[in-house]
């Protein structure tokens, strides 16, 4: 990154942390958590202990981090090495990222940046400038991505509260600051579970590893009466709605399976297909990891310059305005951004190697995406 870009980023991040400290708090039981941060063009510093908001503020002002993190785990000694921390328990966290949803819109808003000559282009297998095939991909998240991620969040919320008995007031949803959402569940019966047990919870939520017997399809002498039905709770009810569509079609479709000599395997195939449709698309590794540090709510995401912001009403939440807090001071940049984007209800781009004067939050957004240099 160029010196002047770096300076603009650091100045803007510092100003944000100065002006918006009300958005950033240490979580509950801070003394038992591990904190960490990264600076621009530098590695990770972790295993830090921070006791209160005042100490957090000091860290932000002294270090001007590009990213700030905090553990979901609680430790006796959060500042010691991993093996000596004495892990006690951890909140449940789920990561829903629109890049994992494999949406068709994605290729339309992904810029490809050549690693050799820095040329930026869209939908090409070779750099149009130097013909290199080594690229970085920079996605400018679109509304469709956010909407689809929100749908996953709602489905996850339903499973957490109905199937897993998590009380609604113990669930919090955050916009990640870039392309998705983080869902936190506190004070649940799962706090003390280790990684392997959490991986089973993940499989439950993602609808992975299901067998036909669970839905009433026995390999030998299957019995129609034991098949899944609409008004059942949990996955049996959800799968019934997905598979049969309407109550009137249920009986006929079950008979079709039973009349088919390969019905069991046909049903098994249906289950696998259903996984992609009705399984919740969370990142399994995130939930299984009980020692991870997560972006701190209220902090900036250096991949976008947007804030990891709590969403109290997910339906109405618009990250492109509700999580955009960097100010609008006019800033001149040399932009090479072949895809347009929207921030604070204003459209920017596309820009083809143009010198433009735009509000600072738009400039920072493009610098974070690697698509401009400040002029």
């Amino acid at each position: 990154m160029l010196e002047k870009d770096l300076k603009l980023l650091e100045d803007s991040f510092k100003k944000y942390y100065f002006d918006h400290f009300d958005l950033i708090h240490v979580p509950d039981r801070p003394a038992e958590r591990e904190f960490g941060f990264q600076q621009f063009n530098s590695g990770m510093t972790r295993h830090l202990a921070i006791k209160n908001d005042k100490e957090l503020r000091l860290l932000l002002m002294n270090n001007i981090p590009s990213d700030v993190y905090c553990s979901n785990a609680y430790y006796s000694f959060p500042n010691l090495q991993m093996t000596e921390k004495d892990w006690k328990e951890a909140d449940l966290i789920f990561d829903i990222d629109s890049k994992d949803l494999h949406l068709n819109c994605r290729q339309d808003h992904t810029c490809i940046k050549c690693q050799s000559c820095n040329e930026v282009f869209v939908k090409d297998s070779k750099c149009p400038n130097c013909k290199s095939i080594k690229f970085d991909h920079r996605s400018l998240t679109c509304k469709n991505c956010i909407q689809s991620a929100k749908e996953e969040v709602k489905k996850l919320f339903h499973i957490l509260s109905n199937d897993l008995g998590v009380e609604q007031q113990n669930i919090q949803v955050f916009f990640s600051g870039n392309e998705g959402f983080h869902v936190y569940a506190y004070n649940t019966q799962f706090q003390k579970l280790g990684s392997r047990e959490r991986s089973e919870l993940v499989d439950y939520i993602m609808f992975r590893g299901v067998i036909p017997e669970t839905f009433g399809y026995k390999k030998s002498k299957p019995d129609k009466s034991s098949f899944l039905d609409f008004d059942e709770s949990g996955w049996r009810g959800r799968l019934a709605k997905h598979l049969f569509g309407s109550k009137s079609k249920r009986s006929k479709q079950i008979t079709q399976f039973l009349d088919n000599s390969n019905g069991y395997f046909a049903f098994q195939k249906k289950l696998e297909d259903a996984r992609n449709e009705i399984g919740i698309k969370i990142d399994p590794n995130v939930t299984m990891d009980i020692h991870r540090i997560f972006r701190l709510p209220g902090s900036l995401n250096s991949k976008s310059g947007l804030t990891k912001q709590i969403c109290n009403k997910i339906e109405e939440f618009n990250p492109f305005s509700d999580a955009c807090f960097i100010d609008d001071e006019p800033t001149t940049v040399l932009a090479n951004c072949p895809i347009s984007f929207e921030l604070k209800n204003k459209k920017y781009g596309p820009y083809q190697n143009e010198r433009v004067s735009i509000p600072k939050h738009a400039a920072i957004y493009m610098i974070c995406k690697g698509l401009v240099t400040s002029a």
């Binding site: 199937d163 019966q189 047990e197 089973e200 499989d203 017997e213 399994p284």
Partner: protein, 342 residues
């Protein structure tokens, strides 16, 4: 401490404090060795061990919750306690393991029945499940419900898919089970509990007149010693990882982790393994050595990383199972066959 009645003691003899029980009944171990009338119980104990060794469940004299004869209840308990003493004296670990498992399965049957008979109030079966295995069971119509977190703690060691949480009825944080399934969840821990009880049992160093019985057990145990024969062939996931690297293609981090931990586990050194990565598109000798040393626990926190399970590899798309992989749960078990010496 769980209070036990006579019937219950016979069903769950491992709950008894052995020394105290003998004392209460007015016996000493030496008496069993010398008194010809009590010799019968030694035979019963040996029979109990032999049955377990054959992988069968010892059929006791308890019928429908009641002893067939009045005297048989204490005999049931004595034969268990004496079996423990004999096993401990003989020090035959293969027999102790088999005995503990068979006794666990025997107790499982009673637990299942006791659980099914559970009325509203708390009974011994739910108490055992809670106090010994921290599993909170409640009756709910035809089902037994336990908190999902308790379920996961126990089911996580099962490999059959039917035990996955996703294949269970789950509602409002609770898992719905039959009495059979509820008790099946703790079989292994019940076995471990009995095993620990045997290991920790205090027994005299030797009682001469037991020597004949102990000889019998020692020779019996020889039948169950196992030897492991290894084919020496790499499992398909490892072959695949090596092929990818040989072709100069990119092997993901998880694949490199698999290869590194696998080869270290079978005894190769960091220096032997490092050259395998030479063809990787991003090869850097220093980084490779650093990472391998880290896996081996030579550098870093000193933690030695173990080879990931087959299940984990499946979820990482690194599993390329062949029929030869049947029945294994970790690549390290590939091509290894356990054989009985019998």
């Amino acid at each position: 401490m769980i209070n036990l009645g006579q019937d219950e003691m016979a069903k769950y003899p491992f709950l008894a404090d052995a020394g105290q029980y003998l004392k209460d009944k007015g016996f000493t171990l030496e008496q069993f060795a010398s008194d010809p009338d009590l010799k019968l119980i030694i035979d019963k104990a040996i029979h109990r061990i032999e049955t377990a060794a054959e992988g069968k469940i010892y059929r006791s004299d308890i019928v429908n919750d009641h002893a067939a004869k009045d005297a048989s209840l204490p005999r049931e308990v004595f034969s268990f306690l004496l079996a423990v003493v004999l096993l401990k004296l003989s020090g035959t670990h293969s027999l102790i393991r088999r005995f503990a498992l068979a006794e666990a399965r025997r107790a499982e049957k009673y637990l299942e029945k006791d659980l099914a008979d559970t009325s509203e109030q708390e009974d011994l079966a739910t108490q055992i499940l809670r106090d010994l295995f921290s599993m909170n069971v409640q009756k709910n119509n035809d089902y037994f419900v336990i908190p999902a977190s308790d379920y996961l703690k126990h089911s996580v060691s099962f490999h059959e898919r039917e035990w996955k949480l996703v294949n269970r009825k789950v509602e409002n944080g609770l898992v719905f089970l039959t009495s059979h399934e509820t008790v099946r969840l703790v079989r292994k821990e019940l076995g471990n509990y009995i095993n620990t009880k045997i290991q920790n049992a205090s027994v005299p160093s030797m009682i001469d007149s037991f020597s004949e019985s102990i000889k019998r057990l020692t020779s019996l145990s020889k039948k169950f010693a196992t030897t492991t024969i290894s084919s020496g062939e790499y499992p398909p996931c490892i072959k695949h990882a090596i092929e990818v690297l040989e072709k100069g293609e990119n092997l993901p981090h998880s694949g490199r982790f698999l290869l590194g931990t696998f080869l270290l586990s079978i005894g190769q050194s960091v220096e032997q393994i490092a050259p395998l990565f030479k063809n990787a598109p991003d090869y850097n000798e220093k980084i490779t050595l650093y990472q391998l040393n880290h896996l081996a626990g030579i550098s870093g926190s000193g933690t030695k990383y173990s080879c990931p399970s087959c299940e984990k590899l499946q979820s990482q798309n690194l599993c390329f199972a062949t029929p030869q992989c049947n029945g294994i749960i970790n690549p390290l078990q590939f091509g290894k066959k356990k054989t009985l010496n019998a």
